[in-house]
Structures are given as C-alpha cells and as structure tokens.
Symmetry: C2
Amino acid sequence: MTLKIETLAIGDELLDGRLADTNSQMLARDLVDLGITLSRQTVVGDAVEEIAEAVRRAAERADIVVTSGGLGPTTDDLTAEGVAQAAGVSIRLDEPSWERIQSLFAARGLELPENNRRQAEVPESARILENQKGVAPGFVTEVGSAEVWSFPGVPREFQHLQTAHLIPHLKGRLSATSLFTETLRCLGATESKVGSVIEPIEGRYPNLRFQYRAHFPEILLRLVGSERAEVERAADEAEEAIGRSVYGRGEASLAERVLHALEAAGQTLATAESCTGGLIAKTLTDVPGASRVYRGSVVAYEDDVKVALLDVEEATLKAHGAVSQAVATQMAEGARTRLRADWAVSTTGIAGPGGGTLEKPVGTVCIALAGPRGTKARTLHLPIPERERIRSMSAAVALRELLSAFR
Amino acid sequence: MTLKIETLAIGDELLDGRLADTNSQMLARDLVDLGITLSRQTVVGDAVEEIAEAVRRAAERADIVVTSGGLGPTTDDLTAEGVAQAAGVSIRLDEPSWERIQSLFAARGLELPENNRRQAEVPESARILENQKGVAPGFVTEVGSAEVWSFPGVPREFQHLQTAHLIPHLKGRLSATSLFTETLRCLGATESKVGSVIEPIEGRYPNLRFQYRAHFPEILLRLVGSERAEVERAADEAEEAIGRSVYGRGEASLAERVLHALEAAGQTLATAESCTGGLIAKTLTDVPGASRVYRGSVVAYEDDVKVALLDVEEATLKAHGAVSQAVATQMAEGARTRLRADWAVSTTGIAGPGGGTLEKPVGTVCIALAGPRGTKARTLHLPIPERERIRSMSAAVALRELLSAFR
C-alpha cells in the first residue's frame, strides 16, 4: 500500500521572492525513507478563496495534504479559515490551545495581544496537534476522503510537527515499522558516474530504494529497505563498485569524521590556508566541540605571511612559486610546528577567476598533509571554472586526505 | 494593468527531496521589480497526464505560465508532450533547433546520441526561444488565452531565458520601460523593527513597492518605483528612520564594501579569529581579488596559539579570560603587527552550545578593531541560541566596525 501526499505552502512571502518553500523538501526527504514520493507541491498566497480551492483540489487528488504557513496571529493568516471552507465547516476556538497560549505569554511575562486568540481558532471538526516549538498548534481536518494536516510555516516548527505527529502516523498507516537506511558518502565522483556504476546493483535489489543527494562537492547515496541485512549487503556492493570515492557511511560529515578520528587518537590539528582562505577552519569550527582537537589556522593569503608565520622559505617561493607542492609542504610543516599540533593540512592554489597561467591554470591546487610520520603533498587539477567550487572541493579533499591517514 | 503569472516546475527530483524548486523564487524576485507577484507555484512529477492537467488548470487561472524542467534528452523529459496535450496540438521537430544541437555536438567533437533529437521537439504551435546557455531551446505555446513559456530546469539556463526573453517581453506588455530600485542594507535590526519604522513612509509613497529580504544577519529593504527622484527621496527617509542599522545602499555585500574601502585608501587588512574560527577570512576571500587588500588571518582557537602567533600576553588571558575586550584588543594588535597590515579585526567569544557561564553566557562576543589611529574593542551580548547565527552575526559586526572607520 502506498499513500498519495501533496504539500500546500501558504503565504505571500513565498510568491514575491522573499522566501522559498523549504518545508516541502524537508518533508519529501523524510517521506522517501518511508517509500513515499510527494505527488505534488503547490504554493498559494494569503487569500481564503485561493486556499480553500487549493485544499479542495489537493484533497480530491491525494490521501494526505500537508499545509504549511498561515497560522500566525495576523489577519493575513487564513489557513484555518481556508481549510474550514474546503471542509464545509465553521471555525471554533479550541479552549485548551487558547489556555496554553495564555500561559505561554504569562510565563514569559509578556502582555498577550488580543490577536493571538486567532492562533487557537481551528476548523470545527479538526483534531489538535501539540506544537512544542511555538505558539500555534497544528491540526488535522478531514476534507472529503483526505486528511489535511496543517502546520506552521516556520521550518523549525514545521519539522517538529512533521517528526512528532505526521511521520509516526504514516508509519502506522503503512505498517512500515522497520525501515533501514544506509548512506554512502562519496567525494570525487559525479552523480552520473555513481549512477552508472550503481545501476546494475539497483537491478539486483528491486526491494531497495536508491536515492542520490548531491551537496557539492559530495554525493550521498542512500539505500532504503525493510531488511537490514539486505540493505547492508547492497551497501557493501555499492561501496565496492564506487571504490575509493566512498569516504564513509552514515550521517556524520567529513569535518565531523576528521574531528572524531583525531579525538579518538588523542591528537590535534592545525591548518594553513592560502586559496581556501579560512574555509577549512570555518568548516571545522562549524562543529560544536571542535576546540577539543582543532588548534587553529594561519590563513596566509600573501606570500610574506607564509614566510613570517609559517616559516616558508623565500628561496622555495622563488624557485617553485606559491602554488607548488614544495610551498604546500612547508606551509603544512610550519603550521604543525608553530601551532604545536600533531597534524596539519595546507592548501595553496588558484581559485580564480584571475591569476591563472598556461602552466598553472585556474583550478590548480596543491595540498599537503604533515603528520607524525612525515609530510606528503599532491596537486589537484580541478576542471571547474567557479571560484566557490574550487575552494569547496579543495577544502574537502584536504580533509579527506587527513581522514585517510586514520584508516 | 497587471498580469497573473504562475510557475509550474516539473520533475520527480523535486518531489523526492533531491532538489528544491529554486527557479520560482529567482523569477519571483525579478517579477517584483516589475510590480508583479506570482499568483501560484506548482510542482509536479514526470508524467504527461499530470503535466497536461497542471498546465491546463494554470492556463485557466493565469495570463502567463512559466514551466521549468522536463526538456532534457531522456524519456523522462515530457514537458513538450504535456504542454502540447494541454494545447491540443501535436509535436513537431523544429529543424533549426535540431541543426543547432547537431552543430553544438560536432563543435565539441562529441558523438550525438539519437535521444538528443527529443530536445528539438516542441508543440506544433510553439514559438522557439534561443537558449545560449544550453542544448534545449525554450518555447512559448498558447493554451487557451494564456501563454505557456517553457524553460529548462537547470537554474543557469532558466535564468538566461528569463532574462533574455521573458522579462523584456513583460516589460513590453506592461510598458514598464523604466523602473528604478534602491536597496538599503541593514545590520543589527530585525525585520519587524524595520517594518514598523518604515510603515508610515510606505503610507506616504503609495506608488512605490517596499520589499524586505532577510539574509541573516542582514535585512535588505528594496524600494521600487517608476520615478528615480521619488525612489531616492523615499530611500533617504527610510534610511533616516532606520538609522545606524543601515550600513549602505545598493548591491555590494558587506565584505565587498570593506575590501573596496580599503583598496580605495591603499590600505591592507588582517584578521584574528577565535569564535568565528575562519568565517571572516572565508567571507572576505569569497570575493575575487580579495588578495589586493587582505593579507590573511590567524585563527587562534586555542589560548596558546593566541600567545604564540598573536603575542597575546599570558597575564592578560589569566586576568580577564580569553573572552574579554583586553584579549580581543591584543589579538587585533598582534594580527596587525604580525601580518603587517594597516588594519586588523579580531573576535573572541562563546558560540556555544557549550562553554557558557553565568558571567559570560553563550552569545558573549568581544570584537576589536586595530588601525592606524589605535584600537577599540566592544562586547556583544547576542540573544541568539544558535552557534551558526552567533558566528555569522559576530563576523558581520566585525566587518561593519571596520567599514564604519572609513566613513
């Protein structure tokens, strides 16, 4: 059995370019784990007739319609009215919700504007969904043979209601009590390349779903199925087929893996960045607790900074140029010594758009890894014309090099 | 006169969570400059009947429907068929488009798969739109009294066709030949605060459109009108009303302004980052040509790195703690000296989630600016519980401090 599910996002701010409907994608990703693909998404503005018409149409096509937005306290917030009109019922004040709103405001010592009463108003026939992340409750209303689930538009609140109420309900309806997923994390392969090597494996496992998610420079391949052993077997085959581009399995990011591997080994890390200009440092320190492992970075955008703070030799710069394995090596070793770390990675390259030459075109990046057992350097020739992508690929490859040292 | 415009994005990858429809927002932003708000957005999967039904419905409601996606060479690409079915016409091969595809492949020395012929197939009655950024042409088809414009889904190609064909056409239909816009860039005010001080001004200029776009931590307020003098007058009043939170006008980002101001003055910049962990360096080096001004950074995540590379005194660390104006001051001065720059900014703070105390809770951030005329430091108390937001707000405030020094 499968279910037809549509989303309906409501709000003028989604139609005039201020915001994009990100809730539908968030829901779609969770649904895919249940073997469900959204059948349609619609976005309409803050107008009762529009909302009611869109709800009615969606309820004709789908088993479940999930609306987002339009549950705030202002007169522009018309979702309850629209859904009620589609259901052919009136609006009621839900007393428990109204009491909860009053006590929320009281607890924060805030005066309660009369407007907020609207947030406790729901279609007569609606069932209330508790919202622990915000003021307005969600609710479920029957429209024809469909269930219309109405959630606030704030992504944090939408996600909470989705996770706390909708997904468990769907699991119940699908009796899909035990779905297993495995994620292969790939760096250095394109989606089409991964797709083509996976195709024969996909053919051999008709009960599994294979999903791709591209977050440049990474590709995540997710396998979903109802039997853990089958999912794992297929994941093993997929990893074998994709080869060295798989850097790990599961949810942890590349930066998290690097930090965990170092922490487990009781070792520390420093970085020396030229073309990535702080991106590696930023990526590592995005992770809470990075300070247990990460000591810091010298972002040496200018050559004399490489000399002054990383002990790169002027003669090396002169002989090989700043974008060279020799300079990358000295940068990594300098960072390791100066920042007193067990490991250091460095980058120096040409991210463009300017600065390329015939010998060292834009996309030439040298990376070095210095560690307790010495230093090794390599040169990347990235056939990517965009500064941002050259930088993010370089940062990812540098972290990947480091992770490989712990295998 | 105004026009009703809807978008219809087509593709299974938009329904299973792999991608979000970003083209609709891109179009919405350009339309708003013409005084048009999208009236609806729809997303459907790769199925002819679904596409045809959605096109028909949209064409009943709107004057113009813009479809994106489904113009590729595979059998999943069904937009031409769907639109043709909605229009009640058959499909034809457009010979000039087919010749162009053949010569594109020949010029690259590539073999032309027979499949790509599909990309020259359009509804019988369609008018072709040249696509200089890709293989598949766009096309316009009449469905009832509406025009259906079909563009490829690749954002770069969608944007090209939007800019090259659709927007000029709309300007012609609206005879809106001359719209002027001005953007006020705000940091340190919430959208609701900006909204409330702007409301009376909005009331005085009924011919202008006021649009907000929030990119945390910034708010951009855009004024659009047909008379330059009126737009500028309103922008002056708005800037006056919002006050110090406005850091500039126009399209250039905060980092770009900092780099331009320094370059114009022939001066250089270094940074010393603790809690922002490389984010300021990354933000500055995102801008091509940053190296003309930016010398580098010391990301001193650990205290002893602050001592070793930034000459922070151990006694200062002991007396005031790492998160203090005294340490921020020494960090900025150390970066200025060690990296031989005219200016340096520093950050040291508690981004969380751990590390907060009663005296210095999460969100406490000290920022210092060292320059030719001395150093000044300040402390922020950010009431934001998210690590990422604390970091991005801190980085923006540091850059803003520097920009203010050039006023």
